[in-house]
Point group: C2
Chain length 767, copies 2
């Protein structure tokens, strides 16, 4: 755990340079706009520790699978998000001497991520080996308005000398991924050009043949006066640059404006990329830095208006929750249903930047709650577009008749993961995708989504479950063998309670959805069933049979739902009994020992109770929470949020707050010592859930929104905002109680602490 | 399956060139002497399909582990047997035109492996592009007398031209493994020299720093006259050669003798390697090819005298069984307790050439039965030498107090394998190592082995088992979770019957062994227990408790021992019901499907019944055989032999013969389409077991050897030879009955078909 960042409600601040933590800061101070993202690398050269990272949405490389021992059914590649051409670079030389913070004395270093307005600022004074001192300040952002534009204002001020300052803004496509299976570069050069004050580099990914054209144009001011200056240009492999040398006197302020464009074949035809890039650069240049920034900040203000959470009386907590919301919206803006949310977003390469079940289980509620429903809807359509690939994927594993198994990890719908116990067995993900459809409709009320997209996906998933179970003669029940639940510290178990529950629920919900669509859109229904060769005489009969006769392992006496068959045969110990030096288990214990132990990586039975809370009594919840919580080591960033919500539900506020804290500042304080790889973007959505569903006690109960807010000890108050079926609410909780404001044009009935309340249009109600 | 080799009792014969099968032939026709081995690559250049393979005993490279997803506890490297410097190479040019069978018309090609005398012969006529025709015959062997010597007689006869023949014998250390994790070469050059008619290359392995010096000297005869000729020498990276050009007339017969030596730092000090190599070459040269071959053939005759099996009335079967015996003795000659038997011996690189539990379970009985007991003893001492590493290995997995877990795959005692479900879970191997000690003593009667080496190993193994089980509260029994049995088509199961049986038996046998040693060598016993910090008050008490209360999954009603807990919850189908296109499962089904199915890769419960046959009634054997055999796909080369033996025991002679056939000509007929990678050496020992224990019905029952021979249909008769406690027997079975000859100086009582018979010294008895 680290504690080097300054607490502040709206800014992330690094005071003084921390070169050892530089890669952590690069992650935390990342900027992005949903289409591109950039780690907080330096503009000028830096020979110290750094993980260069510039990312373009939708562009990936299928890196040939690397395994020790091949198993039949493994995918051919793992899709990797790409470190893309560098658009931020500006080399600086002072009388020929390179500015490089790794070789200077650095003073007054300050790095600020302004979350309110969405930009990164960095300032410092450097004393070079020659004794020359220079003050630098840079400001940059990826515009959320002009989403192909990145802009930089870079100010250099010689402090104790007169001399020549050489400025070399460049575009560099000769970049590598840190994460490559076979030590290869992923980009080849297509074309490059440099002329006067602008340059452009077009590169193409190997195999996938995505093209990116990255270009820039720059200007230099001395104070407020724009300078005229000659440039020299340089072209190298995948690299183009313009250099200018300007004579300065001490305390002259040289301001470089660099306007970059990142355009890709994900959005434009390849032959027109360069033209488009030039156009975008030109337009940005013309608009100018200040106007670009102003528009960008205004867009962020609108976003905050929708999604902000305020906390009074705890600056660290306030900073933490905004940090999470800010990065979620930097990662995914929801306009493009081909995009999704990688575990590290645009802040690192790890986990390949692909889509996991995190999206459905953790991210969807955040976007549903804080934004227009079309954003969440696009996340659902993303999976609908992948349905055929999911059917092919199931086919590879021997399933038939349109059964669909969504991949564990994917970029374009194809499975990328290659551990048999995950790839082939962690199939509960399929249920999460069905659950997301249910969750979306419950939250938005948009039943018609079923006929349009949802039912087809549900049928594919239901068909998978019905083939994945089999009849056990000894049990005289259906069983599901060989699965891995959300608790990945168990592999290849039989009858994982959570997976069985999701399977049965998926079948039930699919049959319910069929009835809905049949009633509401009979023609669409008939045509869909025909297209899917759906045989109602047999398929739903089998589904109903499975629903009626599924095996759920349970300990009758204690009322514990067993995580899997035979769970109580394990030696049951609690996490308390583990010596500190044994933690984290995944680093200290061999894998077999972890598997044999009773210790749980992340919510599993409790994830099931969380998803279907209304199916279980509070007593059942309490018994299972009290049994499983003490066994849970929370060695996944996705675990604590579910425990926080359930603890709050049970009135265990101390535990709820403890669990919340584990997630809220996970990256800012680098709890897991891995923030250098990138931020835990998807678990940030879990933090939001822990806040709104834990502290706020929010639930979507059939047709009504419900809250059971409470105020954590030591806080003065908090507010959060929620969108619900076209309504836009603010919930304000303080020692005085809860006030709910309805900012929409219709009155809304909702439940607070179990009582139904009506909040009038445009008014607020104390509850 | 292929069928291109000619049936012959003593020879393996390829008539006509089969370039598509060349790598298969290279495996089958391999030569070796227990210290070095050589695939049947060509001496002259060959640009066609070939897997070059020259191997030196004891020399390996620790290739950095390659995995997709690292699990804590994985080893750092996988030890690889090395493709070593090429000593066979002789380039041939005819008037400057290279002889290369891939570019000529080849006629009268014949490749013969003479198993009786242990040499490889190849002859052919080649018509080159120029129209020149040449007849070639080569003969080579690795001497089993001078085990550092390889010798070649290579005859070239121009058929339709007079001209210059250029002969370039060389040593080439610039060789690669096909199987490398990171595409690296494993050898670096130390020194090289070439002078007149000899050259030497010394290379060193990276990381392990083994050195090998390979040298050669050659002479050329025309007919019977030795030629004088000048040479030119060539030195390149890790390569040295001598060239001579001789003018020939049509039908002149040019005979090149190449005497090579392969000496290594496994046996000699590094600074003296070159000197030693020169000495060995010189001695071989002086002895001459014919004498070397004569001595070599005599040694093979003596080996056959001990180990031959004859079959009358079935040439294919005769060839098959001799092929197996021959290759086993080419692989392991038993003088060096640092060596062991790799799955491919000296015939290929696959599986790294390391030691598996195959040695104890399959190979040991062969060497016990066919050779002096010191050979088998060295296989046991090999594991004793690795005991400390096995204790370290267990320590890495969290075991304490001297518990030993022998590795799944090893070269020097360290674990090399890296699949968690095997490395950490296929722990029954530990029991096989205990069983081998029992088996050795039962066969040889050498109880004193326990005090000297055995007991220490047994205690380490017993300590492991006692820590690996735990108490199940619901069952009120000891259980063992998270294991993989011999049937690797199940992973991470609970209470594998076989593993539990081996664990309990290991504890029992260790306690019995302790009593034996205490009685027979009380001082050694006391000192060993002290050295091991053995606490008799607690340790054996716990062991006895586990023996008494271990859980064995069983279906009470049917009397089936369950392969693992919950096995009957599976959908039970038989192999008969599988469509042909689904086989082999490991190529056609995804891994999860294999795991969920009831299909069995190799004997598992039946392996346990085989090991401890006397503990089970014939009825128990029959019930379990009848249940498991129809579920077994035999997709391991180690499976069919156990089924053959048990089928024979049950009088299911048809099934026994079918199973025997699957193993006997596995490589000769390339059943599994993988002989090109090398021969299945360890399963060859299983074939021998299937013969002697299946057809011969041999058992070692406490203090007496026992036979229940029967004659497979269509055979006239067979004989096999057995060593037993200093006795040397021949068992001859024909339609007339069984005759047992006792070639030793003492009479022997044994059991035939259940009746005790005494066979006098030097006499034979019909039974």
């Amino acid at each position: 755990m680290k504690n080097y960042l300054t607490h502040d409600p709206w800014n992330i601040i690094e005071e003084g340079f921390h070169p050892d933590y530089n890669e952590v800061s690069e992650s935390c101070f990342s900027i992005g706009n949903g289409k591109m993202g950039q780690r907080a690398n330096f503009e000028e050269q830096f020979s110290g520790q750094t993980l260069p990272g510039s990312y373009i949405a939708g562009i990936y490389y299928p890196d040939k699978t690397r395994v020790g021992w091949w198993k039949n059914g493994y995918p051919e590649y793992f899709a990797k998000v790409l470190n893309s051409p560098n658009w931020i670079g500006i080399d600086i030389k002072l009388d020929g001497e390179v500015l490089d913070l790794a070789t200077c004395k650095v003073k007054d270093f300050r790095r600020v991520l302004n979350m309110k307005e969405g930009y990164l600022e960095r300032s410092f004074t450097a004393k070079l080996l020659s004794g020359k001192e220079v003050a630098v300040k840079s400001t940059r952002f990826c515009s959320v308005v002009d989403t192909e534009v990145g802009a930089i204002r870079y100010t250099v001020k010689p402090l104790n000398f007169d001399g020549r300052i050489t400025v070399t803004p460049y575009v560099d496509g000769d970049v590598m991924n840190k994460d490559t299976n076979w030590d290869e570069g992923f980009w080849t050069e297509i074309e490059k050009t440099a002329k006067k004050r602008s340059c452009f580099v077009t590169t193409e990914t190997k195999k996938t043949q995505f093209q990116a054209c990255v270009g820039m144009r720059f200007s230099i001011f001395k104070g407020k006066t724009e300078l005229e200056f000659p440039t020299t240009t340089t072209l190298e492999e995948k690299y183009a640059a313009c250099s200018a040398t300007v004579r300065c006197k001490a305390n002259d302020e040289l301001v470089i404006y660099k306007y970059a464009a990142v355009v890709s074949s994900f959005y434009h035809e390849k032959p027109k990329l360069l033209e488009r890039c030039k156009k975008v650069v030109k337009k940005a240049f013309k608009k100018g830095f200040e106007k670009l920034l102003k528009e960008h900040a205004a867009a962020w203000a609108a976003k905050w208006e929708e999604a902000d959470i305020t906390i009074e009386g705890d600056v660290a907590a306030q900073q933490g929750i905004r940090f999470n919301i800010f990065h979620l919206y930097q990662t995914y803006s929801g306009e493009d249903e081909r995009l999704n949310i990688g575990p590290k977003g645009f802040t690192g390469e790890k986990y390949g930047g692909s889509t996991y079940w995190d999206t459905e289980a953790y991210c969807l509620p955040f976007y549903l709650g804080t934004a227009d429903q079309k954003i969440a809807r696009n996340l659902l359509i993303y999976r609908h577009k992948h349905l055929q690939k999911a059917i092919e994927n199931a086919g590879k594993l021997g399933f038939k008749n349109g059964a669909a198994l969504y991949p564990m990890v994917t970029m374009n719908g194809e499975e990328c993961h290659n551990e048999w116990e995950i790839t082939f067995e962690e199939i509960h993900r399929n249920g999460a995708i069905a659950y997301a459809i249910f969750d979306y409709i419950r939250h938005t009320g948009e039943q018609s989504y079923l006929a349009e997209y949802g039912l087809e996906v549900l049928i594919g998933i239901a068909r998978f479950w019905s083939q994945r179970v089999h009849w056990s003669v000894p049990k005289q029940q259906y069983v599901m063998h060989g699965v891995t639940g959300p608790n990945e510290y168990e592999n290849n178990v039989n009858n994982n309670w959570y997976t069985n529950l999701l399977a049965v629920w998926s079948l039930e919900y699919t049959m319910e959805a069929m009835k809905t669509v049949e009633a509401e859109a009979p023609e669409k229904y008939a045509s869909l069933l025909k297209r899917l060769n759906f045989d109602q005489a047999t398929e739903t009969v089998v589904w109903s049979e499975i629903v009626a006769k599924m095996h759920f392992p349970q300990h009758e006496k204690s009322g514990i739902f067993l995580q899997q068959e035979g769970f109580l045969d394990k030696e049951i110990r609690t996490v308390d009994e583990l010596p500190a030096e044994d933690r984290p288990l995944h680093q200290k214990w061999s894998w077999d020992r972890i598997l044999r132990s009773c210790f749980i990586k992340q919510a599993d039975v409790l994830q099931g109770i969380y998803f279907f809370e209304e199916r279980f009594s509070e007593e059942e919840l309490r018994r299972n929470f009290d049994f499983y919580e003490p066994l849970t080591v929370h060695e996944s960033s996705l675990s604590a949020c579910v425990h926080a919500i359930l603890a709050a539900r049970l009135g265990k506020y101390g535990k709820a707050y403890e669990m919340y804290l584990r997630t809220a500042r996970l990256d800012l304080d680098d709890y897991n010592n891995d923030t250098e790889d990138g931020l835990h973007i998807t678990s940030m959505a879990g933090t939001w859930m822990a806040f709104v569903e834990g502290f706020g006690g929010m639930r979507a109960e059939s047709d009504m929104l419900s809250f059971r807010p409470y105020l954590p000890e030591g806080w003065e108050g908090y507010t959060f905002r929620i969108q619900w079926r076209g309504h836009y609410l603010q919930v304000k909780v303080s020692k005085a109680g809860t006030v709910i404001a309805n900012h929409s044009g219709q009155p809304l009935r909702l439940r607070v602490h179990g009582k139904v309340v009506e909040v009038g249009a445009g008014s607020e109600t104390a509850c």
